[in-house]
Amino acid sequence: MNSTALAATVRLNYHGGMAASQGVRMSEDAKGADTEFVRVLCEMRGLGRALTLFPDIVTTAFARGRRPIGSFPETFAATTEPASRFAADPESVE
């Protein structure tokens, strides 16, 4: 059973006034990935066997994995401290 028709998409400009990602936006389309680059990267990561057995899946995973963060809040800075040891409420952790 499929859902009923969706409401019209509201167009938004998420990126206005926000720091742009420093990454390179790559297409989700796996065919767009550079085959040789994917192969080399897979070999480096020990995934040569996976690429041989499942080339389409690995290439799709590559495209998904290389998709960068699209935009950042205005308050984001390159010097922001990462939440490397995450705590929902830092005051609660001794």
């Binding site: 066997r49 995450f86 409420d89």
Partner: protein
């Protein structure tokens, strides 16, 4: 089908305490129901009937001697098969874990054992809490009790199915990007993702360390709070466990919400992505009911949903890949294709992108904390769409992107999914209520007031007692 099997925990606990209901009788009723229904709905990977009968008998004997441990004493429950139970396999619904045997109980399981609860079995999930429903695994995928051809949500799919079908009054799942709240939403029941650090994850197979949460699924809000209280609290064995005493979530449950300030994150579903009109209409009606109940409702804005989703996606992929890298290198063929594709994405994330995601998380968490300084709770949608067909791979893949649950994993904040009605097709609709870190008491209070007034939790799915010809059947 016996009536006793559909008792809420709160009511069953009172009857058990008064010795008007035996835990053995309750357990046998549920085992009988599982025997009839599970061949159709596939919620269970393993039914632990012997353990259940022994634990139920022990509870009965102890209560008869006058020792009542609390509201979970003699109450049956089931676990997503990602929790360790000493002596049992923790399969994670994966071929890779078929020969596993746990040597100790997960902390949450130990606490339920100490509370006198009765283990009915281990439940189906998406492989490693990360894939999707598929035929490529050793056990079948759980089905949606509202329509057997539809996805029950995941990854704690068996948890939602078992509770909605009345095969277990309580289940424990895990939630990394919505995996407790999604099945709760799709199956029309109650599912909470508590605050990060509120419930120990020791003995639970991880998906993404900094996003993983343990959470209960039940048919009522009160039952959910009972189960949460039984498992919450500091655990020295879990380095992320918060060192604090948890507030009593049951004491204020029936206080009502007159004067409670509730912020509505409407831009998530009215601007950021287009939602099914039935979901939107239902949450608007729910917000109107909250106002009728005395809540002071006002709109609030957080960062666009895409920023929260990107942040969670990068962290999820990177952390999950680190866990599974060796198996993906050496035996990739043993994962289901959908799991392989999702897990392998993490291999290609640049280290700097992961750090940026954690930096972004710092900013988003601060924004969330600041927003909650002015209100007591927030509400927003859970899923954009209605449950999709279980054999529609594209629609299943979209469920990971088209949802409003990930922001609260990123923030580590408590978030509960509650039913907001039913679609024209008779399928459950839902919203989320979220709150400040470690303020589950407020989240439960708002959820209880709403559900009590709305009455959607009373509705039960029209169950099938014999196997029809469902989608994905071979």
């Amino acid at each position: 089908m016996t009536e006793v099997s559909s008792l809420p925990i709160a009511q069953a606990a009172q009857l058990i305490r008064a010795r008007e209901l035996s835990p053995v009788e309750l357990t046998e009723a549920l085992l009988a129901r599982i025997a009839v229904l599970d061949p159709v709905y596939h919620a269970f990977i393993a039914v632990t009937a012997e353990i259940a009968r022994a634990e139920a008998k022990a509870a009965e004997t102890e209560i008869a001697r006058g020792k009542w441990r609390g509201p979970m004493h003699g109450i049956p429950y089931a676990l997503k098969d990602i929790f360790d139970v000493a002596g049992l396999p923790t399969t994670c619904h994966s071929k890779l874990r078929m020969n596993h045997r746990a040597t100790a109980d997960a902390t949450a399981v130990r606490r339920l054992r100490e509370a006198g609860a009765v283990l009915l079995g281990k439940l189906a999930l998406h492989e490693f809490a990360n894939g999707g429903p598929t035929l490529d695994l050793p056990w079948p995928a759980a089905r949606n009790p509202w329509n057997i051809d539809l996805h029950p949500g995941g990854s704690s799919s068996g948890c939602g199915t078992a509770v909605a079908a009345g095969m277990a009054p309580a289940t424990l799942g895990t939630d990394t990007g919505g995996s407790v709240r999604n099945p709760a939403t799709c199956c029309g029941v109650i599912g909470i993702k508590p605050t990060y650090g509120a419930v120990s994850r020791t003995g639970v197979f991880p998906l993404a360390f900094s996003l993983d949460h343990v959470g209960p699924i039940t048919r009522t809000v009160e039952d959910n709070a009972i189960l949460f209280q039984a498992i919450a609290g500091h655990d020295p064995a879990d380095p992320t466990s918060a060192r604090r005493t948890h507030a009593d979530c049951l004491a204020g449950l029936r206080q009502g919400i007159n004067g409670v300030k509730i912020g509505v994150i409407a831009h998530f579903y009215e601007e950021d992505q287009a939602a099914d009109p039935q979901q939107v209409a239902a949450i608007r009606a729910a917000i109107a009911l909250l106002e009728e109940l005395g809540a002071e409702v006002k709109p609030v804005r957080l960062s666009p949903l895409a920023q929260w989703m990107d942040c969670g996606r990068i962290i999820h992929y990177a952390e999950a890949y680190a866990i599974h890298e060796r198996d993906l290198q050496e035996r990739p063929q043993d994962f289901a294709p959908i799991t392989r594709r999702r897990l392998m994405s993490g291999a290609f994330i640049a280290a700097s992108e992961y750090v940026k995601a954690q930096q972004l998380r710092t900013v988003l968490c601060e924004q969330y904390r600041a927003t909650l300084a002015d209100v007591d709770a927030l509400v927003t949608l859970s899923s954009y769409d209605l449950p999709c067909r279980i054999d529609d791979d594209d629609a299943i893949a979209r469920t990971y992107e088209r949802q409003c649950r990930m922001p609260f994993n990123v923030a580590g904040a408590p978030a509960i999914s509650v039913p907001t009605g039913f679609s024209r097709e008779g399928l459950p609709l839902a919203m989320q209520i979220t709150g400040r870190a470690f303020d589950e008491a407020m989240v439960y209070r708002v959820a209880h007031a709403y559900c009590d007034a709305a009455g959607w939790c009373e509705r039960r799915p029209p169950l099938l007692a014999s196997a029809p010809q469902p989608a994905m059947a071979k």
